[in-house]
Symmetry: D2
Subunit: 344 residues, 4 copies
């Protein structure tokens, strides 16, 4: 369903053109300071309309706290955050009801929900819902950001390639020139983690991160450490030599996870993001009323390259997974002490 | 923890050199015919010692049913299957207690479990536990194999490359010649699926499959459809045109999943498997008693290339995920009818 | 945490004097017709201020749908329902911050959440949150109300006693005369259920109902069928003789559940509700600033007898449990057909 | 399904007349000392055949550890414990296949599992499976027994009444004289608990304990503190005055739980146990082959009063719930230190 996590648990909801999208976060320790300003930088990073190649749809994306925050701190009760949908143009979608957009979920949603789905702008499948993930990610990052954990955890995602080019400007320009959308690759690195997060088998760190990462729309692959390149290596090349009692390894081909468990080195993983399904190019699709193929061309307002907006979302789901593992391993107290106070 | 699934739910347990490994399967519909012979082919495929490049450790791998099967059918109660560990040589491991094997979980397990872990042969981290996954996979495959679902679901995994070579023999020989271990790539294809399995976001088909796939030891990456190559494509190239009301698409770049939901086409995904951590080559690692680096060389009996044994395990976890989704979408009845009977 | 259910899953949130309380419902089949009017009768039954002995705090209790409902039907995505808190007088509570009200959660909440809890009006512990349960109950009842299930399920709760009196007026008057609050007993009966809901052991129908029932504030006991009286019976008296192939029994001492499973007879169970903790009588409690005992007297607006408002809440949690079991046993389709249409 | 708990999680399995019954325990902290002798006292208390009024079926009930224990300590991996079924006489049951025993699950199991259930001796519904609960309870008790938690937690259950008599011998004799079975009431008390276990609403301590308690066969009611008697009290009578900063209350009508949270006082609750369904008295039931009512008389070997064996089982499920809450609130470390060592 629409939930994820064991102790730090999020529930997402909302539709692209409904009144709001949002997230409910259960398990946030009481006392964590939370003010509006904590959320704005990451929410700003997620926004379209600023960068070349992103959607001109503009939303304020101001988090509205409906529960769980009192006197600028988490209370220990579930936190509900809403984001209003103001800038919707649903008329764009009503007209083309019977024509599923290629690459989008329109067809499968229609089959799965029997035609009762909110079909406007992708409805409950819309990447608009990632705004809630980013908000939950802000809280998760804050939980791991120091004060309690020594030094704190740093999570940083960067775009490695757009359309196969490491010069991102150049990759984007290729898409603009081709009047098409384009994919990209994003890498995430996490430092400051303790040894011992995760479990062998089903709750391996890779399992949990991959689970969360594929919840981001448009992700088509994930690889840890050397990833697919490891399949072409010898064991003696790939193995990382442990050098000291902190678990530090000479190389980091494993990407910080061995046997499903963090090994104290930097976690490194990459995701592949497909080109935006909504491309300005004309395409062929089925009209399910006429049952004929017809040419389809996107109106609406869309990103040319969703990879541009992915880093902050990738950081957010990574933080959500790791905060949960921190709580499981008791690296975060159940009550967050006052600033300046020491945890008892 | 060591559980996976919502309605078809598995719990794995056991250690490499303990008395047994096993699996508990909750949620198998009553009435499913289950006899020993159903399990032997897949268990045989998982075994080492037959193929060049696999471990000479030989185990009978006969499933012992301890609950949930009565008169050769599932009863609807939890099914417990044990596999005895007979062919263990624990002495191999006792001697090198303070020397974590590079690439293995020895170091992280020691840190995580405070030295109380069963360290013999990888203990609870051992790929030996995948024998239980294969057994659960047999049941999951059977549930989807027809009789009830039209035509049945086919799940088939194949090795695509060993050490970068599509001639598998050649790739393996490279490792043998180099006296080293080697990685590989395995692809899984699933046909016969209905439209509509999975959910947007956290319970996307990719999320669930990736979660399960990373539970297989040595997996370092997973990609669906065009995967990482999609990141270098234009949208007009990547989008699959829907051609008819069954959802059949002209191309299958999406690999059978759109918006997290099966779209009626073949599911196609690939995993990267790292070279076996146990390589015959001498390596450097830390001795945690002396706190000095020392040379390490593997004794024991090991696979040169674990990718060789991966296909049947990959099929198994895929089947486990899909059987769960089938039950959730009510494509499998809660009571499996007698052969020749029609489901009411 | 604040979630319940497996396939029909609810998450509650909110605080008594925060901006809103609410509920998120995941797993409601697409297509279920849902209009405001469906909710009003049960929400009205829950309200105080009408009946003698209930709180004069008046809230509109109009459900605000923030997700999951489109064109007056469930979409299959999570349904979020908010209720505004308008009629709050938080000043009442600020003054007595250090004086935990006897019988209330003030003291335990303060210890558990380190003083960061929203303490106004019971905060996240307030019975105000049951308004969300009632809303979810309306949806659950509707799912089982016929159309698909034959004839439909009827859930009806009634007050059996107030203060030990079966004349409820008389029991209430005793409390009014004594200037005190008073407890009561409520019975719930469910007819129209199929044989076979529930599981032996942990997911027994009694386990699940009891779990949900004790989520209602002030409940102190639950008993099924003959309940505590059964402990004083002989087996030959207590056993119900099965009379026909539908499972109908001559007597119904079991209250409709045998071995944890519904047996096709009416489910009958009762709950004990303690007297409202907020009594007009003066009481003794600890002031945690002075660490001295002091006299305490309730201001605020409160129910004399919360049992009066309990029946509709009890029906709601019962419906939530049973709708989940219905979905598990596939008695409710994943897509709710149009009125007049037959389920395929 | 057949699982319970969040961090200390148990899965039960097995059938009365299958090869074995057992339990799998996930989440037991590494390092906990576990030897056979730890289990024998509680397993002995559960046994029949010793006390007047209990079944003469004798089983060794020796726990067989199949995973998760190494060098007499928990490893941190799942613990699997089997109990062999040796003393079975299945022939007793084969003969009466079409005649569901009144009060037993035979009829509902047949309907639910379509006739595929293991019907011998109650199959998966048998109280025989509680032997696994008792084993898990031993581990749970040990986790809370001191060393780490100050002073440790004491859980003690006692029979309050048999057949309405507080002289248990007298109550039992009534049943023997009547050649019938008889019910009873058992009380459980838990001391040494910290303030703050549990959550408001769904994860209230009462919800979790009631859930677990109704997993015990034959339980028909549960009440906390004053329980059903509270429904006849005034608020000023029922409220417990807090007397000091530890939360100690002058009276303990609440039974140690307020607002779903432990308040630092003794937890007190009672369960009602119905008379054993298998009574020596002749009874009426339906023969589902002939579809006629017929007289039925129990052969087999049965308890006259299952309440006699209930205390240790009640303690076990109570311990399972509380150990989970302890882990959630971080009162138990993830790694159990060596004896004589201090937790770091």
């Amino acid at each position: 369903m629409n939930s994820f996590g064991r102790l730090f648990r999020v529930h997402i909801f909302g539709e692209s053109h409904g009144e709001s999208v949002g997230i409910n976060i259960d398990g946030c320790p009481a006392g964590l300071p939370l003010v509006l300003e904590d959320f704005l930088p990451d929410l700003e990073r997620r926004k379209g309309g600023i960068q070349k190649g992103t959607t001109p749809r503009k939303e304020d994306d101001l988090p509205i706290f409906r529960s769980g925050v009192f006197q600028q701190r988490a209370t220990g009760a579930p936190i509900t955050i809403l984001f209003e949908n103001n800038n919707t143009r649903s008329g764009d979608y009503e007209k083309q009801r019977a024509v599923p957009r290629p690459g989008h979920a329109d067809f499968v949603a229609h089959q799965k929900f029997g035609g009762f789905e909110d079909y406007r702008g992708g409805g409950a499948f819309s990447a608009r819902l990632t705004v809630g993930l980013v908000a939950a990610g802000v809280i998760a990052k804050k939980l791991m950001s120091g004060g309690v954990a020594d030094g704190g955890v740093q999570i940083k995602a960067n775009i490695l390639e757009i359309g196969g080019e490491t010069d991102l400007e150049k990759g984007l320009q290729r898409a603009i020139d081709a009047k098409d959308s384009i994919g990209g690759i994003v890498e995430c690195r996490v430092s400051g983690l303790p040894v011992g997060l995760g479990e062998p088998f089903f709750d391996s760190v890779e399992s949990l991160l991959a689970h969360a990462v594929f919840a981001i729309p448009a992700v088509r692959g994930v690889e840890f450490g050397r990833g697919f390149a490891a399949a072409r290596m010898f064991g003696s090349q790939h193995n990382d030599a442990i050098e000291d009692m902190t678990g530090h390894t000479r190389t980091n081909h494993a990407g910080g996870v061995v046997g499903g468990i963090t090994n104290g080195n930097e976690i490194v993983f990459r995701i592949a993001i497909k080109p935006t399904s909504s491309t300005p190019k004309e395409q062929l699709t089925l009209n399910w009323e006429t049952e004929q193929l017809e040419n389809f061309s996107v109106k609406g307002r869309h990103d040319l390259c969703v990879a541009l907006r992915a880093p902050v979302i990738l950081e957010a789901v990574t933080a959500i997974v790791l905060a949960d593992l921190f709580l499981l391993e008791q690296h975060i107290p159940r009550i967050w002490p006052e600033a300046g106070q020491k945890e008892s």
